[in-house]
């Protein structure tokens, strides 16, 4: 049997060799090429600094409606929505090119939900206001480019204090300060690596034996872990009440999810939603609207080896039963 050594090496990973990095490509050029390919392939169903035209409008509508209009949906994904975003409309707006209807049909709108709480919470309202601001800010990236150039020149990020947020101008910092003052929220100030053991040490035994997770945590206890338990692969996050957080989740279309309430073994009632996620693949989302935090869990469609995964209702209920939500 003959084997070619280069081919033998095709499927192993290495980071042990400290390769002497050279400046052979421009990161700006790579960004440009990568985004162009993603757009051309129709992969952009995601958040972009230049994007968010439609979501911005939707958030503004939500803000105008106030909280009452959404209160009736409280408990489901629809009630958490920040609005929908149309990639096709964004491309038309950014390029001025009209997209044919048949192509439009292949690019459905994407809906984004809050991971901070429902619209009656200051955390939701603050994030909505931030997203409305951010969506229309620096759409041609000129300010960002100036900021990047300044960092390259000076080696100092003038907004280092806000490194838990994606900001690149004093105007953005001012907006964050305005929002947090308006809604009486504090800022995340320090981010560290986190795993399930750290969460258990901090909160008590939240996660059972067999649970593994890795991710990040802020000093206030807001965390996000990529996790695995009993062959289920998912993300779990907690946003603490009283803090400003800007993350959100692409759920595809919130109204296409089947939802029900379930009381876990820890005695906390959660909402379980099942449908197709932003990539059109099977997704389960669990939310728990707790006194001190908002907890969300969403499954991944793959395991860490890239094998497709689908889960049953019983799988998800067993998973949430293994988590002690009372400690979150």
């Amino acid at each position: 049997m003959k084997v070619h050594i280069h081919e033998l090496m095709d499927n192993i990973e290495d980071s042990s060799v400290n390769i002497e990095e050279q400046n052979v490509v421009s990161s700006e050029r790579i960004k440009e090429l990568t985004k162009m390919k993603i757009q051309n392939a129709g992969y952009t169903k995601k958040r972009s600094k230049k994007g968010l035209v439609t979501i911005g409008i939707a958030v503004a509508v939500v803000a105008a409606l106030g909280t009452t209009a959404f209160a009736v949906f409280n408990g489901g994904l629809g009630g958490l929505s920040f609005g929908k975003r149309s990639l096709a409309e964004e491309i038309e707006a950014d390029t001025g090119v009209s997209i044919p209807e048949e192509v439009m049909a292949t690019m459905p709108e994407q809906e984004f939900i809050s991971l901070q709480g429902y619209p009656d919470s200051p955390e939701y309202q603050a994030t909505a206001e931030w997203l409305a601001f951010e969506s229309g800010y620096d759409r041609d990236c000129k300010i960002l480019d100036e900021h990047d150039a300044e960092i390259r020149r000076t080696g100092v990020d003038p907004f280092e204090e806000y490194n838990c947020y994606l900001v690149w101008s004093q105007e953005m910092v001012d907006k964050i300060n305005e929002i947090t003052a308006k809604y009486d929220l504090k800022l995340h100030t320090n981010i560290t690596d986190c795993d399930e053991k750290i969460v258990n040490e901090m909160c008590g035994e939240v996660f059972s034996d067999g649970f593994t997770g890795a991710g990040y945590m802020y000093e206030d206890g807001t965390f996000n872990l990529d996790s695995e338990f009993n062959g289920i692969y998912f993300q779990i996050g907690r946003c603490m009440r009283g803090y400003f957080d800007t993350t959100y989740l692409n759920v595809g279309n919130a109204s296409n999810y089947e939802e029900y309430e379930y009381t876990t073994k820890s005695g906390i009632t959660v909402t379980i939603s099942h449908g197709k996620g932003g990539m059109g693949m099977d997704k389960w989302i669990v939310t728990a609207n707790l006194k001190d935090s908002f907890v969300s869990l969403n499954t991944f469609p793959f395991d860490y080896d890239g094998n497709l995964k689908e889960y049953t209702k019983a799988d998800i209920e067993a998973l949430v039963d293994s988590i002690d939500f009372t400690r979150l």
Binding site: D10, V17, I38
Partner: protein, 188 residues
Amino acid sequence: MNEAKALALLKKGDEEALEWFIDKYSNYVGTVVSSILQGSMTHEDIEEVTSDVFVTLWQSAEKLYPLNLKGYLSRVARSLSMQKLRDKATELPLDEDILILDDDSEFDRLAKEDQDEMVRKAVYAMPQPDKEIFLRFYYYCQSVSVISQQMQMNPSTIKTKLRRGRERLRLILSNNTKGDDLNESTYS
């Protein structure tokens, strides 16, 4: 922002997180791609493949775990670069880069993923600096002269250690031994 958060945001669909990864890893990925394609391809080809690595990262984000992203990126960079070379089919492998395994080797009977695991274990079990030399040459496709320069070793020593590495790998894959009995004096 740290890597775990950037990956979490990427999974949630955040293009700014993608930009963060490009800022952090474009030099690394570009260096890996360049070391494989240099001499055979243009600078534009190197840019193309480097950007393809980040497109793959974007598409695969939901499958990734934040423990060894650098290793993942090196594998994708290497794989896409090798594919580019194979598409052009410019060169045949040298005889010394082909291992002839025993006909009854366990390796031949293994499933592909088990073969990959066996190769990985065999390479990682090599003593240093043989392991690093082997990886630089066969994984990152660096030339003997580049390895010699970067590891500050004599080219003939590099060649000797590569030869020993090939023999070690051949023996392990042929017989599924751990290669523990292969010492310096036997194969220098």
